[in-house]
């Protein structure tokens, strides 16, 4: 049987090392804990082994459903360390009244270590744990500062021998540092976030400029070398359109506007037929786009793409009282009266649709070649 992988769980007592090991070895977790404690007495081996596992055993990956949840620890280690600092402080005061300098120094260093460790733990490991409130963090910090200052000042006032004085000063400085650390840490984090956001923006602008100068040019070149009606040109044009949309996403007119709708329709038709449709618009934007007008224009563009191909010009003009759309191709041209009745395309989906919407549609041959469809719709605008 395969053993479960050696990973530390996300809800733990202290660091999850014993639980991880117990799970992996299929031992009861109590046995593992006792083994660690026993090994501590074998020259501190248990502690070293614990720290080593803590450093190298990975944390269990979080399940997708609870993404972003922090690791929770049942033991309030920071508070315990703070308590230890308090006990050491007491011991220090007792030692000061004695005569052994070494004991004083030992107590001073122990106070610094436990106080510093309490703050470090609460800042680094308890971050985001819902069981450790802001107030708890605050209390730990203030407590640590107080313990460090008490230790430092007490030593400086009573036994200013050289080493004691230095250690006492270090304790006081450390206390000050603990006081400002969280502020510095959060400022630093803000600075980093801001900087990375700025770098991202700059990068995007740079990429946009570069793509504009190089890729768009190449796509244009491909199109005019390959000829307007070839497959390659069609793909290049579709790519160019997509790239443009991405590059200039911010200054596009709002969707739903008539000109935008016509451009979207034209882009879709260009994908399916060997045709190049240029949509030009003038006048104020119309919102929302009239569906029958868009439908009729679409049908006219489709007709041009199917029967003429090549270049198709679409011109949209919106004035105070009317909307005009012209769709013009350069194909062989068509004679409306000669069309068989089953050609529903023009008769029904263009002329019929416009008539029902209260407008008109005219189909006429172009000057030299091709066909031009003119859609006209009166609108009441204020």
């Amino acid at each position: 049987m395969l053993r479960p992988p050696l990973v530390r769980p996300r809800a733990v007592v202290l660091a999850g090392v014993a639980a991880a090991l117990a799970d992996h070895l299929r031992w009861p977790v109590g046995v593992v804990r006792i083994a660690f404690v026993c090994l501590v007495f074998a020259g501190g081996m248990g502690a070293l082994f614990y720290l080593w596992l803590w450093a190298f055993v990975p944390v269990e990956p979080e399940p997708a459903s609870t993404a972003g949840s922090p690791i929770t620890r049942r033991v309030p280690a920071a508070a315990i360390l703070l308590g230890l600092a308090g006990v050491v402080d007491l011991a220090l005061v007792v030692a000061i009244s004695g005569s052994n300098d070494d004991v004083v120094n030992f107590c001073l260093v122990a106070a610094m270590l436990s106080g510093g460790a309490a703050v470090a733990w609460s800042l680094a490991l308890d971050r985001g744990d819902p069981a450790r409130t802001t107030r708890y963090t605050y209390v730990v910090r203030i407590g640590a500062v107080a313990s460090l200052l008490i230790a430092g000042i007490a030593v400086l006032l009573s036994r200013p021998t050289a080493l004691n004085a230095v250690l006492g000063l270090v304790a006081i400085v450390l206390g000050g540092a603990v006081l400002v650390t969280p502020r510095v840490v959060s400022l630093w984090a803000d600075l980093m976030t801001e900087r990375s956001a700025r770098v991202r923006d700059e990068q995007r602008a740079e990429i946009a400029a570069h793509l504009h100068d190089s890729v768009l040019q190449t796509l244009a070149l491909i199109q005019n070398r390959a000829g307007a009606s070839s497959e390659v040109a069609r793909i290049a044009r579709a790519q160019e359109r997509e790239l443009r949309d991405w590059l200039f996403a911010d200054d596009q007119p709002p969707a739903g506007d008539l000109a935008t709708e016509l451009r979207t329709v034209a882009a879709a038709i260009e994908l399916d037929y060997a045709v190049r449709i240029e949509v030009v618009s003038a006048g104020a934007p119309i919102e929302p786009a009239d569906p029958s007008l868009v439908g009729a224009a679409r049908e006219a563009m489709l007709n041009a793409a199917r029967h003429a191909g090549g270049e198709v010009s679409v011109y949209l003009e919106t004035s105070a009282g009317a909307i005009d759309v012209f769709i013009r191709d350069r194909g062989p041209g068509l004679d409306l009266s000669a069309l068989p009745d089953d050609r529903l395309g023009i008769r029904e989906s263009i002329i019929g649709r416009m008539t029902r919407a209260g407008g008109t549609a005219t189909v006429r041959p172009g000057i030299a070649s091709g066909t031009e469809v003119h859609l006209h719709l009166e609108v009441a605008r204020d």
Partner: protein, 215 residues
């Protein structure tokens, strides 16, 4: 032979265009940046400069800067803007700086050659899109119309008709037969519109350009 200078920072595009241009055009040089272009124009005095709108170098003004810095040569050298961009600010910026026309790079070699020939002959070259911009910027779509021929800020009825037909994809010849006028007259109207575009102090046009830091 019409002497042409190609200004574009994209070498593949320059060589592609050079190969595609009509045989009646002689390419006298190529430049890749603003400073190169200004020097080369002064040295070669080409009849037509095919000018990309986005160019590196100089003060960062691109094609419009090239035209401005070649200002003393404007009566001998004509500029035709050629760009992948079809945004309003690029088009209007380079035309107001003094370009005689604006076409996009999707156009074929034959179309570019025809445009170069037209510009060399003193005509203005309007793409459908540029005509659309003009109708928009001069309020033609909103029904504004110039009453006198001296007026710079609005288009006359005839100019509007011509611009509308160009926007609909008509060639100058087709515009002429549609309106029962000569091609020469169409060209005169287009040149008049170009002049208005360059000289107009029309509020919208200026505000529009200022907003985009063109002037």
């Amino acid at each position: 032979m019409i002497r042409v200078l190609i200004v574009d920072d994209h070498s593949i595009f320059r060589s592609g265009l050079r190969a595609d241009l009509d045989e009646s055009l002689e390419v006298v040089g190529e430049a890749a940046g603003v400073d190169d272009a200004v020097e080369l124009i002064a040295a070669t005095i080409p009849e037509v400069v095919l000018l990309d709108v986005h160019l590196p170098g100089g003060a960062g003004g691109g094609g419009a800067e090239v035209i401005r810095r070649s200002g003393t040569l404007l009566d001998r050298v004509r500029f035709l803007a050629l760009s992948v961009s079809d945004s309003a600010e690029d088009v209007v910026g380079v035309i107001r700086a003094g370009a005689r026309g604006y076409i996009t790079k999707g156009n074929s070699g034959a179309e570019v050659s025809a445009a170069v020939t037209a510009v060399a002959g003193g005509d203005a070259v309007f793409s459908p899109r540029l005509a659309g911009f003009v109708l928009d910027a001069f309020g033609a779509a909103a029904g504004e119309r110039a009453e006198t021929s001296e007026e710079l800020d609005r288009l006359s009825a005839r100019e509007q008709e011509v611009m509308r037909l160009i926007a609909r994809g008509f060639s100058y010849k087709e515009v002429a037969s549609e309106l029962f006028i000569s091609v020469k007259t169409v060209e005169t109207h287009v040149s008049a519109v170009l002049r208005k575009l360059q000289l107009s102090s029309r509020h919208e046009l200026t505000a529009w350009a200022l907003e985009r830091k063109l002037l």
